[in-house]
Each structure stands twice: as structure tokens, then as C-alpha cells.
């Protein structure tokens, strides 16, 4: 009798708990695109939450954007011009953009948004520090800077325009949180930020005058761990996977292929994984030593082990071929014997016969490789390669915040880190922002103060002439190839899987599939 009672209770509870399983998948009946991501939203603040800011661009377009070919084109602005001295940038607002409440996007909205960024948002404070004046016309906004700025069109690809009337009463936008809805002017507006369920919901903007999207709603589902996100995609809970500047885990691709339900978009990442060499201390400040290290690394093995083959051996010129004005400099190659010969010739010999080399001061070289845990495997490989040529190394693994502090105080010899697509374009472009000693920032190494490099950076920043831009870009890649301030470890592929139930995906070098073109073009197969 007792056993029966327990059994009945167990069955009843099981039915109740699994009740949600019956009734079929709601996705079958709704025209919804679901995106799975490990990019967690921590706060309902669209200006302050880094990940939310990226997703918010769908709702609130920027003045300019990057197209599939990596060219900067107008977005909210139909077109834009720059004065000969590169100080005055004028953006002409596309009159077909309407807010989701039915009112048109105005030059005042644009001026308000950019001013707000410049005054209130720390990461955009450079705008406030350099903006001299703003002129507002009937259909345009002119930004007058105190000094020449040649990359404003690129910079403005990341600042989302918000309606002035909604935001002007908010003194501190960084302290304003709201679940939504937010008035947007994109093809979809941000309707809801559900932090506890980890879901962003975008609804159709009924006043969107551009190409008509065929889907009704977009949901971004964030997962706290990548394994759950992968299972969710495979199970059909979400239709695609997105991670800014990152790929779907290479380990899961084969498994997805086996299901037959997914196709893949494969692009060469504009960002890359590289070895930073502290140029502020010996022996890594010696070009001959860096040259030897470059030959000691087995790039193909790193690609095979760390990227499971989804990468290419990089060139000495650092910059990947996916960037405009790529210059095909010689590829990096693995030749440990040559590396040892270079070290011997440069005076880093093993004089004591213990298998390890001494520096020019006579002391045994001991290099510390500073890494964050995500680069553990690559760090171990680099340590092995250097030990093989007689350079003693130790690995120091720290969390991201500690890494920021240690790299800012140059407390390391080597470090493994990455560039993001946006990072490759920042400053003078071509990864210069990571090396220029005059810069500060979370991910940058700022250890290069070689005058020719700094001069070249300044020249690149001073011109909007395409022919000069190309010439300088090539010079910069030649400089990298000759001096190796950073050694690219591999140019990786970004693999984005998507359910074959949807077609029409577009990708751009900055934000991958997360762009307006995708969301207006995407449709269910056969629709």
C-alpha cells in the first residue's frame, strides 16, 4: 500500500514537472528567429552593458555601418562628407528612418545621442574631449572637431542613436535601467530585456520603411555556459549561434554537421590571436630575439591543436587578409634550428651547458608568459617551443582583471591575447591601437614607442585619401613584418552555424551575422 502511494505521488509529480514538454514546440507556429549566445546580459542599461550595447544596434541603428565587403557606408545617414582638413564631418539623415512610435528620426536626435555619448559614457569620452561644435540643419548634422579625425565614419559605426525626447530627461544614462520597450528606428525595436530568463525580445518596427523583414520577432537567448548554448542549438531551441568576435566552438561543428539540420558560414576573422612581446624590457626588446621566437613557434601545430584546423598560418605582417588593403607579406614559418642559430648569433648562447641560454647580462633568460585561462593550451605550446630552443619559460595564469593590471604595468615578458575586429580598426587601424604607447585601454598592450611607427600612425590618422590610406596600410604591415612587435599565432575562422530552416544570412567583418542586412533578408526556407 505504501509502495503504491509513493508510486502515485512520484508519477503525479513527474507529470506536473514535465508538463511543459507536451503541446509541441511553439516555434513551429510563430515566425520567430531565435539566436543563442554565450554573451550574457548583466544589466538593463543599454549604454553601460557591453553585450546589450552590441545587440541594441538592431533596434537603434548607428550613423554608419560596415557592409559585407568591409566598406563603411551610411546607415541612419544616407551619406556623409568630410572637410578637406578632416575636422568637419557632416552626416545627412536618411528621411526614411522612423522611430517605432511613428515619428521621424531627426538631426536633433543624432546630435543629442552623440553628445550624450561624449559627455556621459566613459568609453566615448574622447568625443566630448575633441568635439568643438555641432551644427544642426534640416536634414544634416555637422560635427566639428578640434583636430583632424579621419575615422569618424568608422567610429560612428558603434554609437547607437536614441530618440532625444525619451532620453533628454534622464540626467545619468549610465544609471538608467529599464526592461523596455525602447523606442527604436531599426527594422525591429527592443521590446523586452528579461534578465532572469536571459532573453532579449525585438519586435517588428511597424514604421520601418526599408526592405520588409519576413520574420515577426527576434529573440536573443543568452546562456551562462557554452555547453548549454551548443545543446540548445542542436536541440532546436535556437536557430543560430552568435558571439561577437568569436566562433562557434570548433569542437561542436562535426556534431552539428552530423544532424543534417545546419549549414555554416565560415569567414576569416578580422581579429586574431597573437603573442605580445614586452618591448619595454630585455630580451624581448631586441628585434633579433623576437625574430628567433617567431621561428621557434610551430604555427601549424597551434592551429591543429587550438583551432582544430579552423585557421591559417599568418603572415609576418600581422594583419589578416580579411582587412582592406591587406599586404601579402612573407608567412611566418617554423624553423627551430634557424631560431637557435639566430639566438646564438645575437649573443644569447648557452654558455653554462645546462640547456638554457643566457642573456646579454650573463644571467640565464627566464621569460614569464602571462595568460588568461582561455589561452592555457596555446600558452603551454609556446612555453614548450621556447624551452626547445633553450629559453626557459614559466606560465602565469591570471583572471582578466589581473591581466589588465599586469599588462598595464608591463609586468610580463610574453603574453597571449587577441584582437577584436573593432580593435583592429581602432586608432590608426590595422591593429595599431594595440601597440601604440600613447594609448590606454582594457585590451591594448601600448608598448611600442618607436618614432617611425608613431609617425606612421599619425599619418594614417591624418588622411582620408584612399590611395594614401592604402600606401600607409602597406607600410604598416611592412613595419610589422620587419620588427615583429606582435607575432600573430593564427588567423582563425569564424564559423557561424544556422538552422537550414532559415535562409538569407549576411555577414560583415565587424559584427558577423548580427547586422541589419541579415534581419531584413532572412526568411524561413520555402517561404
Amino acid at each position: 500500500m505504501r509502495i503504491h502511494t509513493v508510486g502515485i505521488v512520484f508519477v503525479t509529480v513527474s507529470i506536473l514537472l514535465t508538463a511543459g514538454c507536451v503541446g509541441g514546440d511553439p516555434a513551429d507556429h510563430e515566425n520567430v528567429l531565435r539566436i543563442g549566445t554565450p554573451m550574457e546580459i548583466k544589466s538593463q542599461n543599454v549604454f553601460g552593458d557591453y553585450n546589450l550595447g552590441i545587440f541594441f544596434a538592431l533596434s537603434n541603428p548607428t550613423l554608419s555601418r560596415m557592409n559585407e565587403n568591409g566598406e563603411i557606408i551610411g546607415y541612419l545617414a544616407s551619406h556623409y562628407t568630410v572637410s578637406d582638413d578632416n575636422r568637419i564631418w557632416t552626416f545627412y539623415i536618411d528621411d526614411s528612418f522612423f522611430w517605432s512610435d511613428g515619428t521621424p528620426v531627426t538631426p536633433e536626435d543624432v546630435a543629442f545621442s552623440i553628445t550624450t555619448y561624449g559627455e556621459k559614457i566613459p568609453s566615448a569620452r574622447w568625443i566630448g574631449e575633441n568635439l568643438d561644435d555641432i551644427l544642426i540643419g534640416d536634414n544634416y548634422v555637422s560635427f566639428i572637431f578640434t583636430q583632424p579625425y579621419t575615422t569618424i565614419d568608422l567610429e560612428f559605426c558603434s554609437y547607437r542613436i536614441v530618440p532625444a525626447r525619451d532620453w533628454e530627461s534622464i540626467d545619468e544614462p549610465l544609471q538608467y535601467t529599464s526592461r523596455g520597450p525602447y523606442t527604436g528606428s531599426g527594422p525591429f525595436y527592443l521590446d523586452d530585456i528579461n534578465l532572469q530568463a536571459g532573453i532579449l525580445t525585438f519586435e517588428r518596427n511597424q514604421h520601418w520603411r526599408g526592405e520588409e523583414p519576413s520574420i515577426d520577432r527576434i529573440e536573443v537567448h543568452s546562456y551562462s555556459n557554452i555547453d548549454s548554448a551548443m545543446l540548445a542549438l542542436e536541440r532546436g531551441d535556437v536557430d543560430t549561434f552568435y558571439r561577437y568576435a568569436g566562433s562557434y566552438p570548433y569542437t561542436g561543428i562535426q556534431r552539428l554537421e552530423a544532424t543534417g539540420n545546419f549549414d555554416f558560414i565560415e569567414t576569416t576573422n578580422v581579429g586574431l590571436i597573437f603573442l605580445g612581446l614586452n618591448l619595454k624590457s630585455a630580451p624581448t626588446d631586441d628585434p633579433a630575439f623576437r625574430e628567433a621566437i617567431a621561428y621557434a613557434i610551430n604555427y601549424e601545430e597551434i592551429i591543429r591543436i587550438d583551432a582544430l584546423g579552423y585557421g591559417e598560418v599568418p603572415n609576418r605582417g600581422f594583419v589578416p587578409p580579411s582587412m582592406e588593403f591587406f599586404r601579402d607579406t612573407p608567412p611566418l614559418s617554423y624553423n627551430p634550428a634557424h631560431a637557435e642559430a639566430l639566438l646564438d648569433a645575437a649573443g644569447y648562447a648557452d654558455k653554462t651547458g645546462n640547456g638554457y641560454r643566457q642573456g646579454k647580462d650573463g644571467e640565464e633568460i627566464g621569460l614569464e608568459i602571462l595568460i588568461r585561462s582561455e589561452y592555457a593550451r596555446t600558452g603551454e605550446l609556446i612555453a614548450d617551443y621556447l624551452n626547445d630552443i633553450g629559453v626557459r619559460t614559466t606560465i602565469k595564469t591570471v583572471d582578466a582583471t589581473t591581466w589588465f593590471t599586469l599588462k598595464d604595468s608591463y609586468s610580463y615578458d610574453l603574453t597571449i591575447t587577441r584582437t577584436t575586429p573593432w580593435g583592429m580598426y581602432m586608432h590608426a587601424g590595422y591593429g595599431t591601437g594595440y601597440f601604440d604607447s600613447r594609448r590606454t585601454g582594457q585590451g591594448v598592450l601600448h608598448y611600442l614607442d618607436d618614432p617611425p611607427f608613431l609617425e606612421l600612425c599619425d599619418m594614417m590618422r591624418d588622411t582620408t585619401d584612399p590611395s594614401l590610406q592604402r600606401e600607409y596600410a602597406w607600410q604598416m604591415q611592412d613595419y610589422y613584418a620587419e620588427n615583429l612587435p606582435g607575432i600573430a599565432l593564427y588567423w582563425n575562422k569564424i564559423v557561424t552555424p544556422y538552422n537550414t530552416a532559415f535562409t538569407g544570412w549576411k555577414t560583415d567583418p565587424l559584427y558577423g551575422i548580427y547586422n541589419m542586412e541579415t534581419f531584413v533578408n532572412i526568411q524561413r526556407s520555402g517561404a
Binding site: 508538463a19 514538454c21 566613459p122 551562462s224 582594457q442
Partner: protein
């Protein structure tokens, strides 16, 4: 009760020490909280960094920061998180509801299940089923909760499709919530039950070696009656201690389950705050947990007094 009153100064001193440690520990960690406010690829001038540092009060000497911290606490103000853009107290309350919801239920189920199974396993050591529970408990309690969670997720959610992959639904009624929470609760409850089962089993075996169960049996009581009327009470003391000590784990240690099931609880909050050096959140969370642990210890002391007359009489 006299003993409890006698211990109040000890609890107050503990609280002050905890507050001091809460303030000091996050600041002793390497890393600059400002770096996380800026972003990975952003350029920020030194002047801006100084301005942010000033606005957060991090440019003041440590003793001034500590005084301000104490003043804020005195007015029940836990501060403001510049990374999460909200008052610390409101963030903690929001997350606490989650944690209390799923960890509280899991703990309750785990404790009851663990005590009952452990008592049965202790009483009937030689039975195959008791041995099975014991081995099972050892296996489960020595498995990392993260791994246990992933296995459960893979089997019950992915392969059998019985549960969602996330612990929190977007909308829905009580059934939807239960459906989402069932698996994380079950995993955590299993883990807690396994630990308590082992403790209870050991405790029951120890009590069986005392004279009083023998005397009770001699009076003619059955094994079940001896267990229920005499042994259970005495054997539960170590479990009560364990639960009191586990309160910290209950609020923070469920982190791995929260990560596996994407649940926004206290564990995730603390984990993120550690990684981003969010001092106000860290201080607030640690303080709340410390107070909970102290309260749990007070409750354990009171329960001890109720269960064990010798403690009540101060023997």
C-alpha cells in the same frame, strides 16, 4: 537560552570582523575595477580614468573609504554597482529570491531525503539496499556539482527532452516555473542529500554503540521505534551543524548549478563581481552571506538546546 545570550558578544565581534574583511579582501585582490568599466577596445584618456576613480571614491585613502563604508552600512546603504548600474541592495534582493527559491527548496528536499536515507542506511548497515545508498552517496558527493549538472542536463534535457535547458522561464505560471526549476533543484537536492546521508549514517552508527538504544530495545521497542524516538534526535546534531555551516554554500556554492542552468542567482552575482572587481557587490553579498551564516549558527545553537537537554542545562 542563557548560553545564547552569553554568546551575543561573540556574534557581534564576528560580525565586525566580517565587515572589516569584506572591505579589505576585495581591495587586496590584484586588478583595477576601473578597467572593467571601460571596455575591451576603447580608448580612454588618463583624465577620464582619474575622473571615474574619483567618482567611485577609489582615490581616497583606505581608512577614509572604510569609514564611508561603515557610515553607509549604518544607514543600511550597501552602495551602488557601477558595473550593474543599480543599487546593490536591490540587486541582491532580486538575486536572493532566486537563490532562496531554488536552493532553499533543494536544501529542504536534500536534508529530509539525506536524513531519512542516512538513518535507514545506518540502522540496516548489512542490507544490500543500505549499502547501495551509501555507495551512491559517496559517488554523488564526490562528483563536482558542475559535472553532475551537465550530465543531468545532457540526459534529461537534451536526450530525453523532458526539461528545458534553462532554469528560468520567460513567462508562464507555476507549472512552467516548476518545469524549468525541477532539474536544477533535483541535481542540487541530490548532492545535498548525498552529503547528509553519509553524515547521518555515520552518526546513527555511532549512536547505536551507546547504551541507550540497547536499553530501549530491552524495554521491548522495535528497531524502527528506537530509531524514531531516540536515535534520530541525537544523531541529527551533526546534520544540524552541517546545515548551519552550509548556509554559505547555499547562497554562493550553488554557483555551478546556476552556471549550468543559466540561472541568475547569488552565486553568479558573486562570481561576476569577483571577476570584475565590483567592490560594492562583493561587499554586499559577502555581508549578507555572513549575516545568514551567523543567524544559522544562532538557530543551530537554539536547536541544539531544544534537542539536547544537556546543552539546555549548560552541562
Amino acid at each position: 537560552m542563557h548560553a545564547i545570550i552569553y554568546r551575543w558578544p561573540r556574534y557581534l565581534i564576528s560580525l565586525f570582523l566580517i565587515i572589516t574583511l569584506n572591505f579589505a579582501l576585495p581591495r587586496m585582490m590584484p586588478g583595477d575595477p576601473i578597467a572593467n568599466l571601460i571596455g575591451e577596445s576603447a580608448y580612454v584618456s588618463e583624465a577620464t580614468i582619474q575622473e571615474i576613480t574619483q567618482s567611485l571614491g577609489l582615490d581616497r585613502p583606505l581608512h577614509e573609504q572604510f569609514t564611508l563604508y561603515l557610515q553607509s552600512l549604518a544607514s543600511l546603504d550597501l552602495g551602488y554597482s557601477y558595473l550593474l548600474h543599480a543599487e546593490v541592495s536591490s540587486i541582491i534582493i532580486e538575486r536572493m529570491i532566486w537563490t532562496l527559491g531554488f536552493v532553499g527548496i533543494a536544501t529542504l528536499i536534500g536534508v529530509i531525503l539525506g536524513v531519512l536515507l542516512g538513518a535507514a542506511a545506518g540502522m540496516n548497515r548489512s542490507q544490500k539496499s543500505s549499502q547501495l545508498w551509501t555507495y551512491g552517496s559517496i559517488a554523488i558527493s564526490s562528483t563536482p556539482p558542475y559535472f553532475l549538472g551537465l550530465i543531468a542536463l545532457s540526459i534529461f534535457s537534451f536526450h530525453f527532452g523532458l526539461f528545458p535547458l534553462k532554469g528560468a522561464p520567460a513567462t508562464g505560471g507555476i507549472l512552467t516555473w516548476l518545469h524549468h526549476l525541477a532539474l536544477p533543484i533535483a541535481v542540487l537536492a541530490l548532492f545535498i542529500a548525498a552529503r547528509n546521508c553519509l553524515i547521518m549514517r555515520g552518526s546513527v552508527i555511532q549512536e547505536l554503540h551507546e547504551h541507550y538504544p540497547l536499553y530501549a530495545k530491552a524495554k521491548g521497542l522495535t528497531d524502527r521505534m528506537v530509531l524514531r524516538r531516540h536515535i534520530l534526535k541525537n544523531a541529527s546534531l551533526p546534520v544540524i551543524t552541517q546545515i548551519a555551516l552550509d548556509i554559505g554554500f547555499i547562497f554562493s556554492g550553488a554557483l555551478f548549478i546556476e552556471i549550468v542552468f543559466s540561472m541568475p542567482g547569488m552565486g553568479m552575482l558573486i562570481y561576476d563581481a569577483v571577476l570584475s572587481r565590483d567592490y560594492p557587490i562583493l561587499e554586499g553579498c559577502l555581508l549578507v552571506i555572513a549575516i545568514m551564516v551567523i543567524l544559522a549558527n544562532i538557530a543551530a545553537d537554539i536547536l541544539y538546546g531544544i534537542i539536547d537537554p544537556r546543552i539546555r542545562r549548560g552541562e
